[in-house]
Amino acid sequence: MSILVKPNTKVLIQGITGSFGARHAQLSIDYGTSVVAGVTPGKGGQFFEHGGVKVPIFDTVADAVKQTGATASAVFVPPPFAADAILEGADAGLDLVVAITEGIPVRDMVRVKRALQGNTKTRLIGPNCPGIVTPGEGKDSHGGCRIGIAPGYIHKKGNIGVVSRSGTLTYEAVWQLTSRGVGQSTCVGIGGDPVNGTSHLDVIKLFNEDPETTGIIMIGEIGGSAEEAAAEWIKKNCKKPVAGFIAGATAPPGRRMGHAGAIVSGGKGTAAAKIAAFKDAGIGVAVTPSEMADVLLKMM
């Protein structure tokens, strides 16, 4: 088992003909992911070809779902059109929409989040996230499901769940695990924006229920209070060991550190407060990012 996606999940790619979407569609196909459809309005009927795989392109997500049975999508469309693409995916009844796009206006995401309220069918991950990987059994985890932009080869099939707001910091944690011979059940990047579809807590709950996941690494950063909320729940409910790291202890208040959500304002969202919440919840705190895997492995 794994969470959110399995190695055989049928994936469609919204924005498959853009340079960014095309590049990562190719890498997902190379990884052995079942990429069954692409969507680019106006290019329906054409094909996206790579490595002997011929992926049909549709004008609408609804068409793509009907024709191919895709259940998950990766959104690579540019920021001005991303909110529309996300809601189109939800309207088509997808189980999962993963928004990779960086730079979507907050107001657009406020509207998207409101529109998805009460929708129990579609889960949104992101935006501004690296996506999801459920590693496969082949060499360098080939044969897994890769939705997004993470490097597939750093993964290894196994039992640790990883959830993070940041891309490269997720890769860092995954690589630390893989280098120590420890595999992952699923790795989820929830994105660095202030309004996102899925929180740390949502993913932690899924890992807690997943019989194959035996330990969890949670990576957070300054800004907001999502890490604190997750820690509070973990303290009361989580049956599995959790190790955590918070980035941004040295960030000055009022400055946005790359991610739109990574900002300490009004004295809220500091690394110190988040680390204190982790400790209070019994989460193993990695003092430096180099120790994320070791802290978890010591707890297990």
């Binding site: 490097p151 660095g192 550190m257």
Partner: protein, 401 residues
């Protein structure tokens, strides 16, 4: 992006928010006519306000020793006198740091007889992903202090983005502020206008501190925004060309402007170890580990997911323009990007800039062996780190020598 007070009030006025009669002036030539117009409007006082992107102006001090970035003049001549001491001079406030900011624009405003001061702000509530209006009767004060000491004095109203602000919500806020009669109705209009400014302009925050009940020359009372601060969502500026024109490059650090030309995300800090990293989270974590090893980061620098040789070279030049930098730590996790491309870029940048400072490079990921070989065979003095911790320790040691 932040904008000046006079620009914020211009936007607010468009959405029906009452603001004092006021005129911006960029040069001394513009000050006297502006002050005369304000005096002619019936105001006995002319307020002269320095326009910089920082708070605490009233209690600030100019580098010349002149006290106060906001002054109330009793005559046109006095207003011009104040303007001469402010315009073109550097104002230091508790928010500017010791270097201060040069005042390039003044705002001349009709003086108001303040009867009561309030606080009003609109921002995103991240926990609910909905807009939130915050109001308090404790105006003119530090709102964070009020939130800590008197949380009961802060009134909050969440807005449903599907319907926008409803009139009853504006009425609740006006009532919470204790407004009555005509002032109540004026307050409802003002609150609605402030919310609409936030929503329609894609602001990340609109803050009026103070919002005030003032007595006009004819003895009537009204509510208006005496001070206003607006910050905007950078990601939405593409659909607000008029607001984008309000960008004031004088308020931004020159190195940060230079970095943005190369799509580099750079923020200058006070330490001595520069870092160059791919990814915002990893960049923050690299800053943290430098501090953990006993030194301080000189900057935040995210070169993004697909850094080119040109970007790496530009990044090195920007880092090296900071005179406090004593050493450099490069931390790249090349997930998709080729480590050898980065390594080639680093070698080229070192040669082009004639780097003399200690340079520690930690490369990991795609094609890392070729990348390490390129570094080793380059003839350039580069210290390699095996992990983030190892690299951070090495750069701190190298600088400490």
């Amino acid at each position: 992006m932040n904008i000046h007070e006079y620009q914020a009030k211009h936007l607010l006025a468009k959405f029906g928010v009452a603001v004092p009669f006021e005129i911006p002036a960029r040069s001394l030539n513009e000050v006297r006519p502006a002050a005369e117009k304000i005096a002619a409007s019936g105001s006995s006082k002319v307020v002269v306000k320095s326009q910089i992107h920082a708070g605490g102006r009233g209690k600030g001090m100019f580098k010349t020793g002149f006290q106060g970035g906001v002054k109330v003049a009793g005559s046109v001549d006095e207003a011009v006198g104040f303007a001469e001491k402010m315009l073109g001079n550097v104002l230091i406030t508790k928010q500017t740091g010791a270097e201060g900011r040069q005042v390039q624009t003044l705002l001349l405003a009709a003086g108001a007889k303040i009867k009561k001061e309030f606080y009003l702000a609109v921002l995103l509530n991240r926990e609910t992903s909905r807009p939130l209006i915050m109001a308090s009767t404790e105006g003119g004060m530090d709102i964070e202090e009020v939130a800590e000491k008197h949380p009961e004095k802060i009134f909050k109203e969440t807005i449903d983005p599907a319907v926008g602000i409803m009139p009853y919500q504006a009425r609740k806020i006006a009532a919470a502020l204790g407004l009555k009669g005509e002032l109540f109705n004026a307050g409802v209009k003002l609150v609605t206008g402030v919310y609409n400014t936030w929503w329609e302009c894609d602001a990340s925050m609109v803050e009026l501190n103070p919002l005030a009940v003032v007595e006009l020359a004819d003895g009537k009372e009204t509510v208006m925004a005496l001070d206003a601060k607006i910050s905007l969502d950078d990601n939405a500026l593409y659909r607000h060309k008029d607001i984008l024109e309000m960008r004031d490059l004088n308020e931004e650090a020159p190195l940060e402007i230079e970095a943005s030309k190369f799509n580099l995300n750079y923020i200058k800090l006070d330490g001595s170890i520069a870092c160059l990293v791919n990814g915002a989270g990893l960049a923050m974590a690299t800053m943290d580990i430098i501090q953990h090893c006993g030194s301080n980061p000189a900057n935040f620098l995210d070169v993004g997911g697909g850094a080119s040789k040109e970007q790496v070279t530009a990044a090195f030049k920007i880092i090296l323009s900071d005179p406090n930098v004593k050493g450099i730590l490069v931390n790249i996790f090349g997930g998709i990007m080729d480590c050898n491309v980065i390594a080639t870029g680093i070698v080229a940048a070192v040669k082009e800039t004639g780097l003399k400072l200690p340079l520690v490079v930690r490369l990991e990921g795609n094609n890392v062996l070729a990348g390490k070989k390129t570094l080793a065979e380059s003839g350039v003095a580069i210290i390699t780190g095996d992990s983030m911790a190892d690299a951070a320790q090495k750069v701190v040691q190298a600088v400490g020598k």
